[in-house]
Amino acid sequence: MPRFIEHLLGPRVAADELHARPLRYIVPSFLLMAARVLLLLSVFLPYWHMELDAPQYPDGLFLTAYVNHLDGDVDEINALNHYIGMRPLEQAAAFERAASVWLMVAMVLLMEGAALVHSRWAVLLALPAVGFPIGFLADLQWWMAHFGQNLDPSAPLSSSIKPFTPTVLGEGGIGQFKTYAELGTGYWLSVAASLLTVIGFYFHRAAYKPLYDRMIARGEV
């Protein structure tokens, strides 16, 4: 095996060492495994909800975002949005939604790799998963602002509703609507996965850094 790969993968744990201190090596593996499971689960769960309340909608309108699709009263919200010149919601984040599942799988595979790499490079592999929740929110905010700020100036209600940025979290309002937006279970799972990964790497470092340092000291790499 070329040196740099051995360097990259870091030391393997000898069987007697594993027997002597099993928890030390199982804990980081378990935490990173749990993070992967949570991340996969989150694909099936809503990341973000918005409720829109107006007098003529006593039951409210609901919009739910999953990583790969939109659900809820999308048609009705689009029907209303066309009066203010907003583009149909399907046109927002089309690439992100199409790529999301592959992206998630890729992140999980990278983390799988991270669990096997016992050097500092493992952190790099796990970075996407750690940063994913923030990335999701930032992307959502960008699209909302982009859609809200780029209304068709010749829309029927253009003199009543000026370009605006919808509120991504918490209470907002547009026209006769009050909006309430909050994060969904899926999002919180991705946050949990992110935290578990960070914690997992604390133990990962605690377990493998001594082995790694020893390997360097012995000049094995």
Partner: protein, 683 residues
């Protein structure tokens, strides 16, 4: 394994999440609707007293108001489905608020619902033709809710047209008429519609005898040639349609069959039909004969028809029916030979026959006799089994001995017509001449449910005026609710502001929740749209009404998505010779296409679909001058055809105020005069 576990958990969590979202919705609503317990301060009492005195209301009035007033957004507990009489429609009214919810178009074209205004050859109008002639009205009489085990199931509503002997089927998912069948035997009827306990059959009792099948015979041959009938329309619940091929009728003597009721439990398998004019009077006041009203009321007794419908069904299936005007009929002789038909004497020119909730008793109201006569099914079965006949009528039908089948007679007052029931062992009978509702006690197992002795008049509440039918909450089912009763008062005389010489009827709400003599009138609802006959009151939560059609492109006639419905992006105008096909979509606030060019003389087939999926986002579609108006409820698809025979420029527009840009929701139909030089208009 792990993945399966994950997927399972995820699925479960998703469902929970969706449920939680719904829950949030409901929580918000109920919080808004939650009423705090009322505690009136002395100031509020003074305010209330002042208003009551200013408006001349007494304490009973205040209580009645409190029992009926339904604040905005609060829903009624019951829905009353009422016949609309000569309007040919059905009306739905909320109880206890007594607010009109909507009309349902049935036998009369109705423009708001776009019923009968879908171009030339509208299937609605086709269905309303009788012997090639459009008959565009009906005299709706008796609504019949579909039943399962003798209970309203909220799925279908049937209604009869007395004037033309027709029966309509209304689907209560979308409250639209789905089918109208014409009875080929008789010109008019009366006793439609009543259902058997599981809606196997819808019963249509005849009335004025004729020569069955639109035949002719001089009135002198009344006894020989004129006949009565009762028809059993087979209902196919899976299709939501009457199955005409598996329906049949019984030929009956030319007494005037009247109302009907189906037995249940102890009397399951029987249908009871009463009759008048057992005298077989043929009228002729102009020739010095007694008029019908006298001739048909001479005798003290008429005949309660006791029909074993399971035996009738078996005889029909065994091929024992003959065919009249294409319809299967079991003759009187067959009915007698097969033991299908028995009579029991009933006094005198009676009106309603109503089966008690347990099926053990049949209550016949006297009309011209001050009693209700109660028959026992046990005694009837015994009399049939042991041939306890007093005689046979002129047509050979065995007449059971009156005393052998009678359980009780209760004197109520003048003009008893119809009877309904409650949950406390009381029966309620309308008294036309007394203008009152009588409450009286049933016997048998019902005796223990109230303090009064069995078969006794308890109280009468005056109603205003001339009550016909009455309806208690689920009062003709296996388990009546009590609580509310509607008096369908025929005359209102002085109850409302003057409305010219034609006065509304008066639907009065009575509170029947307390036992004993308290049975106050709570509310008067003027009905200024026709003279309704019967109504039924169903618990509102039994109805599983759609708020929008299940899918965009829904065809309400087939209750399924229509393959011809244009989808978004398929809009256009296609010409084939002199035939033009328009594929149109409608969504707030535009039609697509907005211009349709045709040539004078073209036949235009117009397919239009509402792309809306939101509750109450209904569009209309009209073409002025071409007698076209549709109601496009969310998701609904309609097709119509017409001949563009009058050239010109015709705006079409949305006729239901749909949105802020409703007025802009329009387009033009350009019918180019013959000889216009432009090339083909097809796009």
């Amino acid at each position: 394994m792990l993945m399966v576990l994950c997927a399972g958990t995820a699925l479960e969590m998703t469902t929970q999440e969706a449920a939680a979202q719904q829950e949030g919705r409901r929580r918000r609503r109920s919080a808004a609707e939650e009423a705090k317990p009322v505690e009136l301060t002395s100031e509020q009492v003074a305010q209330l007293t002042k208003i009551a005195n200013e408006r001349k209301l007494n304490v009973d009035d205040l209580l009645a108001a409190a029992k009926t007033y339904t604040p905005s957004g609060r829903h009624d507990e019951y829905v009353l489905f009422s016949s609309g009489g000569q309007s040919g429609q059905v009306y739905a009214i909320g109880v206890p608020s007594m607010r009109l919810l909507r009309s349902i178009a049935v036998f009369t074209p109705e423009s708001w619902q776009g019923y009968g205004f879908a171009g030339d050859n509208d299937p609605v109008l086709k269905q309303l033709e009788i012997n090639g002639r459009p008959v565009l009205w009906g005299d709706t009489h008796h609504p019949g809710l579909s039943e399962t085990n003798g209970e309203y199931d909220g799925e279908y509503l049937f209604i009869g047209d007395k004037a033309n002997a027709r029966l309509a089927v209304i689907d209560l998912r979308d409250w639209e008429t789905k089918q109208i069948v014409k009875n080929p035997l008789t010109v008019s009827d009366h006793g439609a519609s009543f259902v058997t306990p599981n809606t196997e059959y819808v019963i249509e009792g005849g009335q004025y005898a004729t020569v069955l099948g639109y035949g002719y015979a001089p009135i002198e041959e009344y006894k020989q040639s004129y006949r009565g009938m009762v028809t059993f329309w087979k209902f196919d619940r899976s299709k939501g349609r009457v199955d005409v091929a598996n329906s049949f009728a019984l030929e009956l003597p030319p007494y005037w069959q009247d109302l009907a009721d189906a037995g249940k439990f102890a009397s399951d398998g029987f249908v009871f039909v009463n009759s008048f004019n057992a005298e077989m009077a043929a009228g002729g006041v102009e020739r010095g004969e007694p008029p019908f009203e006298a001739g048909a009321s001479k005798r003290d007794m008429d005949y309660l028809h006791i029909i074993d419908w399971r035996k009738a069904e078996a005889a029909f299936k065994a091929g024992k029916a003959k065919t009249i005007n294409g319809f299967a009929v079991l003759t009187i002789d067959t009915c007698v030979a097969e033991g299908i038909l028995h009579f029991a004497p009933e006094p005198k020119s009676p009106h309603g026959v109503d089966v008690t909730p347990d099926g053990k008793f049949m209550v016949v109201a006297g009309k011209l006799d001050p009693h209700v006569t109660v028959y026992s099914i046990e005694k009837i079965k015994d009399a049939i089994a042991n041939r306890k006949y007093s005689t046979r009528d002129e047509y050979g039908v065995p007449v059971l001995d009156f005393d052998a089948v009678k359980e009780a007679q209760v004197e109520l007052g003048l003009g008893p017509l119809h009877t309904q029931f409650d949950d406390k062992g009381y029966a309620y009978t309308s008294l036309f001449l007394d203008s009152a509702v009588a409450r009286w006690t049933l016997g048998g197992d019902y005796d223990k449910l109230n303090p009064e002795p069995a078969w006794k008049l308890v109280t009468k509440t005056p109603v205003q005026y001339n009550i016909g039918h009455l309806a208690a909450a689920e009062g003709d089912t296996a388990s009546p609710d009590g609580r509310y009763l509607i008096s369908m008062s025929k005359w209102s005389v002085d109850r409302f502001l003057p409305t010219g010489p034609l006065l509304p009827q008066n639907f009065q709400l009575l509170d029947i929740s307390s036992p004993g003599t308290a049975m106050p009138v709570l509310y008067d609802l003027p009905i200024g749209v026709g003279e309704p006959h019967y109504c039924q009151m169903i618990k509102a939560d039994k109805l599983r009404t759609w708020s929008v059609y299940p899918e965009v492109g829904w065809n309400p006639h087939t209750q399924s998505p229509d393959p011809n419905a244009p989808r978004k992006g398929q809009e256009g105008v296609i010409r084939e010779g002199s035939h033009v096909l328009v594929k149109m979509t409608a969504i707030r606030s535009h039609f697509n296409p907005e211009h349709v060019e045709v040539n004078e003389g073209d036949t235009v087939t117009w397919r239009i679909v509402s792309l809306e999926t939101t509750k109450d986002a209904t569009h209309g579609f009209c073409i002025g001058g071409y007698n076209i108006n549709l109601s496009l409820e969310p998701g609904e698809y309609t097709e119509f055809t017409f001949k563009a025979d009058r050239p010109g420029t015709y705006p079409f527009y949305c006729t239901e105020f749909c949105s802020a840009l409703h007025l802009e929701m329009m387009g033009y139909l350009h019918v180019k005069p013959k000889g216009t030089p432009t090339a083909d208009a097809a796009k």
